[in-house]
């Protein structure tokens, strides 16, 4: 079985590239699936649209979710994930530039598992990605797989 997938929902290609680079720098070699907007994230998770052929029984190890996304905002995506029985226990880490209190409040209210602010300093950013990967891919035990619908 392939190593677990990381789903990165990020509209900014620079940020996506830097995030992936940070993972690689941290020797996290898991596959990182990067999608550009909220709709694509949901299609990936529920095997619809572009990802209709995907085996939806395999869920990513963790979802790194930006809040400011085209089409469907990060918080909307989070709500859909938590609403669906299959994905409701899926670990979701909000990774964003915003440190607005309102955003943090909404994110935690909708059931995010972590809230991480992207530092401007790339060294710090790399360190953050390193710790995220280490935590969510190594230390954290996944929730039990929900019963097949």
């Amino acid at each position: 079985m392939a190593s677990p997938v990381i789903l990165l929902v990020e509209d900014n290609p620079d940020d996506a590239a830097l995030t992936i680079r940070a993972f690689r720098k941290s020797r996290i070699m898991n596959e990182v699936v990067a999608v550009r907007d909220g709709v694509a994230a949901l299609e990936y998770l529920f095997g619809t649209g572009e990802y209709a052929a995907r085996d939806t029984s395999v869920l990513p190890q963790v979802v790194l979710l930006d809040l400011k996304l085209p089409k469907l905002s990060g918080l909307e995506v989070l709500r859909k994930i938590r609403e669906h029985p299959r994905t409701k226990l899926l670990p979701v880490v909000i990774l964003t530039s915003s440190k607005e209190e309102q955003d943090r409040m909404n994110g935690y209210s909708l059931g995010c598992n972590s809230y991480v602010r992207k530092p401007v300093d790339f060294v710090q950013f790399t360190e953050a990605a390193n710790q995220l990967g280490l935590y969510w891919l190594v230390l954290n035990e996944r929730p039990p797989a929900p019963a097949a619908p």
Binding site: N12, D14, D15, L18, R21, K25, K68, T96, S97, S98, K99, E100, K118, P119, V120, D121, F122, V123, F125, T126
Partner: protein, 773 residues
């Protein structure tokens, strides 16, 4: 109230009557003496009569004895005469038989004589006669014996004897005795001889016994009478001593019983009268004590005999019964002017002299309260028929009424002053709407003097368009008997301009509750109305401005969000890819190229910091202030601990005053301390041993917090620039920073209504002070 005990008089009377001298047990009352005398006199009479009877009986017995004596004398005389005759015969005849007769006669004579001595009694003359007779008789007898013994010789002897005349001596002696005895019989008196007879003793004894019985009965009767009288007297004494329940013992069918019954009835009547007297006295006392007026009664000598509770209340103490003779002094009476009302002017004294006083206003000293009380005094003499007995003084306390009158006058004066000086127009009308009163407040409001409008209809002052509404309102408040508040009418000023008056109106109700007009108070609200219109206009404008401001704020928020989120992303790319270049293409870059890339990174990071600080600054302005009690000491300790953790190798001593607290927004205050302590931390970096002190001090009743450090300080010439945004007093190379921290601090302090300032000198450290309203 004190009333002299009515029984006292009775006691006094009883005492007077009985003379009050204690009597011995043996002394006799006149009645006793009389009764004793009455007993003794019949006793003596009986004794005397019995004695007389005895004497009579004895005299009778004596008479009988004398008669017997006389008889014997006669017998003796007869026997002697017989003997003489026989002797004579003998001398003549010499017959022997004559001797015998002679001797026999002598014997009889002797026999008769011999019993006489026993019967003679004690009469001395008789005894003398008998003594003289005795030898004569004895001679005769011896002669007779001798004759008998020698009858032969007798002739001569007898003759001699006859011739001697001796015989005559005996006869004459007997005759004398007989005569004397006859005299005694005739005189009826002669001494008794011998004891009375037995019957006489019985009579005597019976007489004595009867006399004793009479005496004893008299004594017994007398004692019984006296005993009853004595008991009555003892009862009287007990009654005098107050034992009214005493009743004399009554023996029926007896005059004394009747007396005792009468005595008891009198006693019952006395008890009844006394009870009634007590009841009426008690009633009088109750009535007097229940009166609110003081009643004081003095007798003719000026002695107080009665006063009621109200008198004690008014005087403050019970008037002394035996106090000074002057009633004025005793009752602490003074004239209304304060001078003592003495002599004839004093009502009670005047009353005891027969003069009436009515409605005299006086002052009474209440000794208990130490205050004067104002009273109306009335006094009347009390007379019993023509006798002036004393006087009664009645005091009505009018102090409260006086005070109330004065208070009322004061109150009226006060309210009059209020009404006359207020800037409101106060008016009243009669039922027809004619003004009956207006205060001077009318002039500044509508330009009329009160005198110009009194008597005129109030509608004349109301704007023509408002008159019907005004009349309607007046009718309404009359109908509802209820006031109406805050009515606004347009009125006409004397100069023809229009004025808005706010009126409160109440109906005037007469004694029967029927409306008889109205009263009102009116305030000129013309200016206020204009001001209100202005305020309304301003409010509309304000609301518009607020809406605009809200929109601007929203835009600003969106802008801030966008800045914080979107401006950071490119910076991150710049920094990230610069770092990537440095890492991946290090070998292709020379030292300059690497330096440039590092500068790019530094600049992008500094810009990110600037963005964060700006966002913070704008957030401080936007977030709502929520005050609560903040433990400032704890907050400072928390921030200082955080700072020490960032650079554990630094030697910085924090001194934090204990127990500091403030009413502030905890999150914003945290930002203040973050900045101030952060600055202190930063600017003491060059100090080997840094000291940072956080404390509070009080100046002019204001609490001032301060943060003092021994860092590099600054030049006070630039202190003014300290709190401006982006203002820095140090080069970035020397001390990093964006110049926004103190601006943020100032904004937070301003939002709390406080002040912030700093004192410093270059190289000496700096102290930042702030207050939190």
């Amino acid at each position: 109230m004190r009333v002299a005990e009515p029984f006292e008089a009775l006691q006094v009377a009883a005492r007077r009557h009985s003379g009050d001298a204690p009597r011995g047990r043996t002394s006799r009352s006149p009645l006793e003496r009389k009764v004793l005398a009455a007993c003794l006199i019949p006793f003596a009479a009986v004794v005397l009569s019995v004695a007389a009877a005895i004497e009579g009986v004895r005299e009778l017995a004596a008479s009988k004895s004398l008669l017997h004596f006389r008889e014997r004398v006669s017998t003796a005389s007869a026997a002697h005469a017989e003997a003489e005759r026989a002797l004579l015969s003998l001398a003549i005849t010499r017959e022997h038989s004559e001797v015998e007769a002679y001797v026999a006669a002598v014997d009889r004579m002797r026999a008769a004589f011999s019993g006489l001595t026993a019967l003679a009694g004690s009469d001395p003359v008789t005894l003398r006669h008998l003594q003289r007779l005795e030898p004569l008789v004895a001679g005769e007898v011896s002669f007779a014996r001798s004759v008998l013994r020698a009858p032969n010789l007798a002739n001569e002897t007898v003759r001699n004897r006859v011739a001697s005349g001796r015989r005559h001596a005996v006869a004459s002696a007997l005759a004398a005795l007989a005569r004397h005895t006859d005299d005694r019989l005739r005189s009826g008196f002669f001494p008794l001889a011998g004891r009375p007879p037995a019957a006489l003793r019985v009579v005597l004894l019976a007489g004595l016994l009867a006399a004793a019985a009479v005496g004893l009965a008299g004594a017994f009767f007398g004692t019984a009478v006296i005993g009853s009288v004595r008991r009555l007297l003892a009862g009287m004494k007990r009654i005098r001593d107050g034992a009214l329940d005493y009743r004399a013992p009554v023996r029926p069918r007896d005059e004394l019983g009747e007396v005792a019954t009468g005595f008891n009835e009198m006693l019952d009547a006395l008890v009844r009268t006394q009870t009634e007297l007590k009841q009426s006295t008690e009633l009088l006392r109750l009535v007097l004590d229940s009166m609110s007026d003081a009643v004081i009664v003095a007798d003719g000598t000026g002695r107080l005999v009665l006063f009621n509770r109200a008198a004690v209340d008014i005087l403050g103490e019970a008037p002394q019964r035996n106090g000074p003779a002057d009633q004025t002094e005793r009752c602490h009476l003074r004239s209304a002017g304060g001078r003592a009302a003495s002599g004839h002017a004093e009502p009670l004294t005047a009353a005891t002299r027969g003069c009436c006083t009515r409605n005299m206003e006086l002052l009474v000293r209440n000794t208990k309260a130490g205050q004067d009380r104002c009273v109306i005094a009335a006094a009347s003499p009390i007379s019993d028929g023509d006798t002036l007995w004393g006087g009664v003084l009645v005091l009505t306390d009018i102090t409260e009424r006086k005070l109330a009158d004065r208070a009322l006058a004061d109150s009226e004066e006060r309210f009059r002053a209020f009404v006359e000086t207020t800037s409101e127009w106060i008016w009243s009308t009669d039922e027809s709407g004619a003004i009956t009163y207006s205060n001077p407040g009318l002039f500044p409001i509508l330009g009329y003097f009160p005198g110009q409008v009194v008597g005129k209809c109030i509608l004349g002052l109301i704007h023509t368009e408002e008159r019907s509404r005004f009349s309607e309102k007046l009718a309404q408040i009359d109908a509802g008997r209820n006031g109406s508040m805050g009515l606004v009418f347009r009125c006409l000023h004397e100069n023809g301009t229009e004025r808005s008056l706010e009126m409160n109106m109440v109906p005037i109700l007469d004694r029967n509750g029927v409306p008889a007009g109205a009263r009102g108070i009116a305030r000129d609200i013309t200016l206020r109305r204009m001001a209100e219109a202005e305020v309304r206009k301003l409010n509309v404008e304000l609301r518009r401005r607020i809406a605009q401001l809200d929109a601007v704020n929203k835009e600003l928020e969106a802008f801030s969000y966008s800045v914080s989120h979107d401006l950071r992303a490119p910076l991150r790319s710049i920094d990230g890819f610069s770092q990537a270049l440095l890492e991946d293409c290090l070998d292709k870059l020379d030292a300059d190229g690497q330096d440039y890339l590092r500068r790019v990174r530094a600049a992008s990071q500094r810009m990110a910091q600037l963005i964060d600080d700006l966002i913070n600054l704008s957030r401080v302005a936007r977030t709502e202030l929520t005050r609560r009690t903040v433990d400032v000491s704890d907050l400072a300790a928390c921030v200082s601990t955080g700072l020490q953790e960032t650079q554990p190798d630094r030697d910085v001593v924090f001194t934090i005053a204990a127990g500091m607290s403030a009413e502030a927004d905890p999150r914003l205050l945290r930002i203040v301390f973050d900045n101030l302590l952060g600055n202190a931390w930063k600017f003491t970096r060059t100090r080997k041993s840094a000291r940072i002190e956080i404390g509070e001090l009080w100046r002019h009743g204001e609490r001032i917090f301060f943060v003092r450090d021994n860092g590099v300080g600054f030049d006070m010439d630039y202190a003014a620039k300290l709190f401006g945004a982006f203002q820095r007093l140090h080069a970035v190379e020397e001390f990093e920073g964006t110049g926004i921290g103190l601006a943020t601090v100032q904004r937070i302090i301003n939002r709390h209504g406080g002040r912030v300032w700093a004192e410093a000198s270059v190289g000496e450290g700096a102290t930042f002070y702030f207050t939190l309203s």
